[in-house]
């Protein structure tokens, strides 16, 4: 375990963006078929990326969650892409 200690110590911290990207673009509705946007809101495992990483505001995160779930239902996104390393 001592082998990993050095890399953990120097790991840089990802600051989240201070402004919601959807607010900056004044998004009022998010279509689940718009995969350019919706597919970017999931991580490599297929999970919805949390607000603490994306900086999305509460209102737009709700829209993101609904859009991702609809896209999963219509087989546009996978429910589970498996573990990613």
């Amino acid at each position: 375990m001592a082998f990993y200690r050095g890399s953990n110590r120097n790991r840089s911290y990802n600051r989240r963006p201070s402004v919601c990207q959807f607010c900056a673009d004044k998004v009022t509705q998010l279509d689940y078929k718009n995969l350019d946007i919706v597919a970017r809101q999931i991580d490599p495992e297929g999970k919805i990326r949390p607000r603490r990483r994306t900086g999305t505001c509460a209102r737009h995160q709700r829209m993101v969650a609904i859009a991702v779930k609809r896209a999963r239902h219509m087989a546009l996104l996978a429910f589970d892409k498996g573990t990613w390393i």
Binding site: S7, Q21, V27, A75
Partner: protein
């Protein structure tokens, strides 16, 4: 009357004759339940993200329509009984606004994530080459050796 989107994945096995027929029957279901179709969004055949009824592909099509409140349940009941419909979804939705590609949100997080990887890899290199180590790294290595030993 309320605005809905009726989205459907049709079976890829439908041939050139039965595919238009299938579309017409769904349109009939919409109009017979008192709906008016505003816009048709035909996306064609596309690969599915996972298997549905052992099919790898599906024909995506959705209609934007204004329906009576009793409309969606009647349409869903018809769709559930048809075997050529792999998946369907009736949702409250206005006709989507066309978004310019330039105004798409830029993913700042993924841009930040790349340097982290490069830091980790560069560190592995410095651990291997002891001669070129910076003084700070050397002190780290000495600590690690002392703790492990």
């Amino acid at each position: 009357m309320r605005n809905y989107e009726i989205a459907v994945i049709l079976s890829p096995d439908l041939d050139d004759k039965s595919l238009p027929d299938m579309k017409e029957t769904i349109k009939d279901w919409i109009s017979s339940s008192g709906g008016e179709i505003v816009l048709t969004d035909d996306r064609g055949q596309r690969k599915l993200a996972y298997l549905i009824k052992k099919k790898r592909e599906g024909y995506y099509i959705s209609w934007y329509a204004s329906l009576l409140p009793s409309g969606p349940s009647a349409i869903e009941q018809n769709m559930r009984l048809n075997e050529n419909i792999l998946r369907f979804m009736v949702i409250k939705s206005d006709v989507p606004v066309q978004v310019d590609e330039k105004s798409l949100p830029v993913d700042a997080d993924s841009n930040v994530a790349e340097p982290v990887v490069s830091i980790e890899t560069s560190e592995e290199i410095t651990e291997g080459n002891e001669g070129t180590d910076a003084s700070a790294d050397q002190s780290l290595d000495e600590k690690n050796e002392g703790e492990s030993g």
